[in-house]
């Protein structure tokens, strides 16, 4: 894991002092809310419906146990005893007092964390595959690249007042678990035939009101050119991105309106000019950052653990949890555990301070002091020995975090919605809770199989509804909450934006509508092995429309 050196420590500490001064100037009235807004946003402080909200960065979703423990401490001391893990691998605290925030930031700094650039029109926290450094299908760990990007983009003087926010995601395997193609810049680390590392570069992806899949601008970019190329993209975007309309200000619109080829000319010309300059990455510096992410000291273990097999036979609930929430590790004898923060009827992604403490303990004891936050709003224990799985499960069970539903229909992504968010047009958490209850039966869920259900409380799409196999978007229709359904979206390497299926449903109808969609799938799938998305891709929307809107069938 990355560790701060003197430079980072000094940087973050002086940044906290700087923000403390800004908060004091706001409180004294020297800064108006208008002047303060961009400054607080660059430090992760939002104004929500009822209170300030602090969004803390978890760079590329990786954190250690003392960091997790500190998040629990902050929830306990400054908030209402819980935090919300987000689709951008961050954590949000919903109820801090403005005057406390400098203290919170100081606490965070003590464990090498910060809230810099988690909001505002700047380069946001860089995200990455949550299975980085553990996944069996990995070509290279994406985190060293994400860390270098994090550093370069931190208080980049030129790119703090962009037309709009800017999100970068990095993956290191051909299977995309980070919705990389839905980011302003998406990077895929890969190897060429000569065995050298480089990147495939996508630009102009995004969700929000105009969802777009990123376009490949470079099939191959040598690793040493990563920063120069990103700087060239950002410079062109900063100069030419639209500023007349904030809904058209993301780089996806610039790519769309200018055309990839024309835009690429500008980007490549700027890149050509700067690529042999100061941003060229020396091999040894990349290696120095990569060294922080060197594989843990794994023991030499057989691929099968007899104790585990026996425990699965003895305990059916455990066996099911292993089936769903545990996946293969690159290292024999180890596994990756998903802790689903999706208990029946709970708000997706919320964890209490006590739960965070348990997670911290488990990370420390069983996972080489490492944890991850996934964009699916779960927590991952990336390196668990097979023989420890039962102990981990037992501890999770006791803490109410042993939901065996990873990847199933109740592993729902949902944004905060109208319960918290000032921009919301509808509630999303209650809808998630209702669906979670409706499909709570594990047999039924397992029968349905892999299905990604994602809910946003407005068109901004923080809940990724566009890329849900089933997506739900809450809108406001004359003062009433209405839920629009999209089908067939996907945030993986076969990226797709879901199609709107028809008129929306009221809050009372939406549960039945989802059930109808699921029933239609179950009736029409070729076999148990054909997942929802495959069936949808084979059949298209019509059978689902027919089932949802039967009266229209004959029209």
């Amino acid at each position: 894991m990355y560790r701060y050196d003197e430079f980072d420590r000094e940087f973050v500490t002086s940044r906290v002092a700087q923000f403390r001064d800004q908060v004091e100037r706001r409180v004294s009235g020297e800064l108006t809310e208008d002047n303060f807004k961009p400054l607080r946003l660059q430090n992760g402080v939002y104004l929500q419906l009822h209170a300030y909200m602090l969004r803390v960065a978890v760079p590329y979703g990786t954190l250690n146990s003392s960091q997790m423990r500190m998040l629990g401490h902050i929830a306990r001391k400054y908030d209402r005893d819980y935090g919300h893990f987000t689709t951008r691998q961050n954590i949000q605290f919903n109820w801090p007092k403005l005057a406390d925030i400098p203290d919170i930031l100081e606490d965070l700094a003590s464990v090498e964390m910060h809230a810099i650039q988690t909001s505002g029109n700047c380069i946001r926290n860089v995200t990455a595959d949550h299975l980085a450094g553990a996944a069996a299908d990995e070509v290279a760990d994406p985190r060293p690249y994400a860390e270098i990007l994090r550093q370069w983009s931190t208080i980049h003087p030129e790119f703090l007042f962009l037309p709009r926010k800017f999100k970068i995601a990095v993956i290191g395997s051909p299977n995309d678990r980070a919705a990389m193609q839905f980011h302003d810049i998406g990077l895929e680390v890969r190897k060429n035939d000569a065995g050298e590392l480089g990147l495939r570069v996508f630009v102009g992806g995004g969700l929000g009101r105009t969802p777009m899949i990123g376009k490949m601008i470079r099939d191959w970019l040598p690793e040493e050119d990563m920063l120069s190329y990103c700087e060239a993209i950002l410079r062109v975007y900063n100069l030419y991105g639209r500023r007349d309309n904030k809904y058209k200000a993301r780089i996806k619109i610039l790519v769309h309106e200018t055309g990839l080829d024309d835009l690429k000319k500008d980007i490549e010309a700027e890149f050509e000019r700067i690529k042999d300059g100061v941003l060229k990455l020396p091999d040894e510096d990349v290696a120095a950052i990569a060294a922080y992410f060197a594989p843990s000291e794994f023991a030499d273990l057989p691929a099968k653990d007899d104790g585990l097999e026996q425990a699965k036979l003895d305990n059916r609930s455990f066996a099911r949890w292993v089936d769903r929430n545990v996946v293969e590790h690159a290292q024999s004898g180890y596994a990756i555990v998903t802790v689903a923060l999706k208990g029946t009827g709970e708000a997706p992604g919320d964890a209490t301070s006590a739960q965070m403490d348990v997670l911290a303990d488990l990370g420390e004891k069983y996972s080489f002091d490492e944890l991850r936050v996934s964009h699916e709003q779960n927590v991952i224990l990336p390196h668990v020995q097979l023989s420890d799985l039962k102990a981990v499960y037992d501890a999770l069970l006791e803490a109410g975090m042993a939901s065996a539903n990873a990847g199933l229909i109740t592993d729902i992504i949902a944004c905060p919605g109208l319960d918290y968010c000032a921009l919301a047009t509808a509630r999303s958490i209650p809808v998630a809770q209702e669906l979670s209850q409706r499909f709570a039966d594990l047999d039924c869920q397992n029968d349905i199989g892999d299905l990604k259900l994602k809910i946003s409380g407005c068109i901004n799409a923080c809940g990724h509804h566009h890329v849900g196999h089933i997506g739900i978007l809450g809108v406001d229709r004359r003062g009433e909450e209405l839920y629009q359904v999209t089908l067939g979206g996907s945030g993986d390497e076969q990226a797709a934006v879901g199609e709107i299926i028809g008129r929306g449903f009221s809050k009372d109808e939406i549960g039945d509508a989802v059930e109808t969609i699921v029933d239609t799938y179950l009736a029409r799938r070729l076999s148990d092995d054909e997942a929802f998305l495959e069936t949808y891709r084979r059949l298209g929307p019509q059978p689902f429309k027919d089932a949802l809107y039967p009266a229209k069938e004959t029209a």
Binding site: S14, W152, I155, L162
Partner: protein
Amino acid sequence: MTTLFIDGAVAEDPWVSIDGEQPVPEAEDVIVSLALFEAQRHALLTRNEGRLGVYLEADDQIDAIADDLGKIDLVALDFPSFADGRAFSKARLLRDRHGFAGEIRATGDVRIDQVQHMRRSGFNALAVHHQPTVDSLMEIKDAGLNLFYQPAIEGAEARSSSGGRSWARRAL
């Protein structure tokens, strides 16, 4: 009231801004709008006395004056609002792409919290209206940090002594 700071110190402004129809004085240092520059380009570039500055609004691009930068002594870049960051990239391009060594002046909504970013992007002059910013700059409080995670304009900062990071910088 506008206070001009050059290289961090309060300075008298020898420049006259000419924007409308009035004739360009022959012997004075003038800052003209891009429209005026384009309309009277030849005359402006061949004056015998008096230096030439061009004022670019946020929508104007550097390309419009790039070929003539050798004869231009000052470029003023406008921040219509502090949230409009285009001028940062323009200053960068002036210094790094075009090697422009003259004065780059920030005008418009110039605030203390952006001052360090302006300097790092290539501005060496600030025309400030905002009184708290004037006061802070008088106290030499520029609200910035001394450590940087990325190189800015060339020569402005030292390589960080922190090993293994070619991109990090430290204030001189």
